[in-house]
Amino acid sequence: MSTTAKNATEGLADPDLASVERVLAGDAAAFEGIVRRWQGPLVNMAWRYCRDRARAEELAQEAFLRAWRGLVHWRRESSFSTWLFALAANVFRSDLKRVPAVNIPIEDIVEPARPASQDHDLQQKSRHEVVRRAVLALPLRYREPVLLFYFHEMDVAAAAHTMGLPVGTVKARLSRARELLRRRFPHLADEHAAMEISASTTGKEA
């Protein structure tokens, strides 16, 4: 989960409940509080699913609408954020099944070339972006655990809650997803090690 999301979960749990109560009492404008508190996390979560800004906002908007319609069904057994993220994940999953974000199979994604000494940061950024996009090319059952695990700041339990799956299943799928990515990018670890060494050397020299 992003820092924004975490802050919202920890510090503003009661405002969500208060907003929900007001909305259920007929005050539609009270939903704005929920939108303002959760727009960041939801747009970022949608972005991880599709890596398209415009589509991420559309998806997040749809998730908020579904939340509005389904507020009465929130049973308050879990926190509002847990319910909202699970609902949003369902919306994003359904939409991406309809229109996939990436149609390239993971086997066709080329491992980035080794970085040149110049434009190091830029190249590193673009290489990281290739790895992130490769996640989208994973089969959905492996892709979603990866997306949600890192969205929730590497909290397996939170990712499992969002997907409505047991923690063990999520761990197993994460492990398989990593294996697939490792096979796809076999040289990335060596390059990272080399970069770290060169960075530390430069730091010492400075």
Binding site: S2, T3, T4, A28, A29, F31, E32, V35, R36, Q39, G40, V43, N44, W47, R48, R53, A56, E57, A60, Q61, F64, L65, W68, R69, H128, V131, R132, V135, V146, Y150, E153, M154, R178, L181, R182, F185, P186, L188, A189, H192
Partner: protein, 121 residues
């Protein structure tokens, strides 16, 4: 690629800020939905007498059909080689009743479909 490297790459995602009009746009949609007239509920109170009457007619029809079928079967056992015209008449009647029931059911289902209600009742 080691897991730590992958963790570092995937965990260091830049945070996307929603566009300035995002919340307003969501609230516009919410207000539209809130202002929309709720769907008219099915008038159960008015429909219940009709449903009871229809159920009665169906029940009576079923009883009559069964009775006719039993009498035809009994007659058929006693006269195995041919059926007289008077015995065939109830059998033809059964066919017409079945068709009428089918047409009624189809028209009921069609009207439910046209009103956008896919539930059975």
């Amino acid at each position: 690629m080691k897991d730590e490297v992958l963790d570092r790459i995937l965990a260091t995602e830049e945070q996307l800020l929603p566009s300035s009009g995002f919340a307003a746009s969501v609230m516009d949609r919410i207000r539209e939905e809130a202002a929309a007239v709720p769907p008219i509920p099915f008038p159960w109170r008015r429909a219940i007498p009709g449903i009871v009457l229809a159920a009665g007619v169906f029940g009576w029809g079923a009883v009559e059909l069964t009775r006719e079928a039993v009498s035809v079967m009994r007659s058929a056992q006693s006269v195995p080689l041919h059926l007289s015209a008077s015995m065939l008449r109830p059998v033809e009647g059964i066919g017409w009743v079945a068709i009428a029931l089918g047409v009624s059911l189809a028209s009921w289902a069609l009207s439910r479909f046209m009103t956008g209600d896919s539930r059975l009742l």
